[in-house]
Amino acid sequence: MKLLAYELRKMLVGRFWIAALLTLIAASAVLFAQPWRLQSIGEINQTARQNSGFKPLYDFLSSASKDELDEYLSETGFSLDADAWEVSGLPLPNAGGSGRFLETVEGEFQVLQAYLPRYQRTYPQVIKSREDIVEMARYLGGSAYAEGDLYNTRLNLDIIRRYSEQPPLLLALSDGENDTPAFSVYFLTGWQSFFDFIWGDIFALILTLLVTARIFSLEKRSGSVLKSTLRGRKDTAAAKLFSACLVGGVFSLLFSALSFMMALLMYGMDGASSSILSLTPMMDTSPLTCTIGEAAWFFTFYKAFGAMCFALICAVFSCFLRSALTSYVAGSVLLGASLCWYYFLMPRASVPMVFRLLPDVTLWTRPVWMFSNYRVANIFNYPLLWVWLCLIFWLAVATLLFFAALRYWAARRLA
């Protein structure tokens, strides 16, 4: 532990890192807020809840039962294609700012509107599509079983198991059969923004690269002394690698926390207990059935794991290349190539997943995409979700690199 603390200190001491951290935090906040979209910068501090004009509608929609909501929708004549919003029945804000980073009051309705059609149109579709998936899996699974196709039998059983499970919020819609639970409407814009915002994760990776790609090369002059001591070899190398992972993980968590805070301030973060399927249409066929809140924790740690892997790779570059400059170049190439890889290959569905996913070290920054569909690989006749396969792959790579770096640093070699 003492060596770990010393390594952290050696790695992070200096004003440059504080300046770099603050700069990237500021950049992340600006990119999240996109203040150029504001009518007035003074609106930043207002939240959805502070917008008194909108609150009655919001409160009503938050607590409305399904029948009340249906009645409201039919009364208001809410239409997607309307040029101007005409709403009756409830007072609506008709002047001033929206209270959030939306340009006009209309923006409020655009946000609100995102639910109503989902409630009216998409949710039943979600349920139907999941039922269809299960039905198809039963059919294909049965055929596979009859043909003795072990993998496809297992694959379809897995699909049936995952898609038969009712997601939390969708349960509430199945009224009539149960106790007619109240239908809740939440603003998910905050969560959507939180999940969609990729820059915070990229900045976390950049900062991780800057800090960890010099962790061994900073011993260029002191390495001889270190390596001549009792704990200066494997223990010190392990402390360096662990501290790099720790820093990567903490940076990722820090930027995730920043995104959360920004989303909370700008949009509010209601609806944590809603199904993740209600987040975006992209998630309609997700194999996940957890709530948004659970997914937020899960995705945050998922991203942190990715940052830790990246930190370890940068630290290993530093160990093998023995120069801060070459390590920075190697780390930058890896990061840049991963992003290019993603943007170049991801739209090409014809490219096998193994090439699209595994080499991309930034895939961790896109958990929503990773979990948005049922994508599996055939591993010894067992279906394994690609997202877990990537995790296992990078865990294996990280473990291998960890021990390779340990061995390299401990060898009889001048620093």
Binding site: G14, V225, K227, S228, T229, L230, R231, R412
Partner: protein
């Protein structure tokens, strides 16, 4: 006891150490040789930092590769450049080195550790600067702190590579005395190209030339081999260049129009030349002058 068995180190076409075999018993060993003689290569091999091409290094009869961490626990090492961390104070740096050396790591040993660190700082005359960041230190102060870390834990084997570089004469004397006092049952290897550093304190001297060990012995033994080869001669100052071209010269003292030369030659260079008491420096000049000629 440290034993070097036929150590050879080759870097592609260059042989840095050529079949060096030595048995080093406790005491102060001076490792003497000009730049490029192979001192640092030998030091790094003994410190376990560099793999030899062939041969073996034994510590108390056991190969240091097999000993691993237990060998390093007995080792205190000062390389040519200690490479301190700018943002550590001297005391913090020594604390870090204690952690690396596994010294006083148990709970309740903090006071002992602080006392030991204070003693080391005192030894190298850095007590007053103990809580200053090392980036504010002069070259000499950094070197002294490097020496302090090598001495931490009173290791049985201390290797000092050019420890006096950057030190002023007062600090050199202080360091010499401190190292001399440490000797006892320890083995101290002091690599240098400055003869005066080790002449008075080394029990044995190893002379390296072109990667080969050319002489081993006590300073007195080595110097005695020069009996009848060191001369003192006073000549007109303008003739100095003539003598420099034909003989190996030691000190030259110019006084007015006369110059007093210390000439190293196996025959009397001039009828007026007077035999002088040979020293280690004379041997050094003779042996390594041959290289340059």
């Amino acid at each position: 006891m440290l034993e070097l068995q036929s150590i050879t180190k080759r870097y592609r076409s260059k042989t840095a150490l050529d079949d060096v075999s030595l048995l080093l018993e406790p005491g102060i060993w001076g490792l003497l040789g000009p730049n490029g003689a192979g001192k640092s290569t030998m030091i790094n091999i003994i410190a376990g930092l560099l793999a030899q091409t062939s041969g073996a290094v034994l510590w108390d009869g056991v190969n240091i590769d097999s000993l691993g961490a237990s060998y390093r626990a007995a080792l205190g090492f000062l390389p040519q450049s200690a490479g301190l961390y700018d943002y550590f104070t001297a005391r913090q740096y020594l604390r870090y080195m204690c952690a690396l050396k596994g010294l006083y790591t148990k709970p309740g040993e903090r006071k002992k550790r602080e006392l030991h660190i204070s003693q080391m700082l005192e030894t190298v005359n850095l007590t007053a600067d103990a809580d200053r960041r090392t980036r504010t230190f002069s070259g000499g102060m950094k070197q002294r702190l490097g020496i302090a870390q090598a001495l931490l834990g009173n290791p049985k084997l201390i290797i000092l590579d050019e420890p006096t570089s950057g030190l002023d004469p007062q600090e050199r004397v202080r360091l010499r005395n401190a190292v001399a006092a440490l000797a006892g049952s320890r083995l101290i290897i002091w690599a240098t190209h400055i003869v005066s550093d080790i002449e008075t304190i080394a029990h044995r001297v190893i002379m390296l030339k072109d990667g080969k060990c050319i002489a081993v012995g006590s300073p007195a033994e080595l110097a005695s081999g020069m009996d009848g080869q060191v001369w003192s001669l006073t000549i007109p100052a303008e003739k100095t260049d003539l003598y420099r071209a034909n003989y190996t010269l030691g000190n030259i003292i110019v006084s007015g129009s006369a110059a007093q030369l210390r000439i190293i030659h196996n025959e009397k260079p001039h009828p007026d030349a007077v035999s002088a008491e040979p020293g280690l420096e004379d041997l050094y000049l003779l042996r390594y002058e041959e290289v340059s000629k």
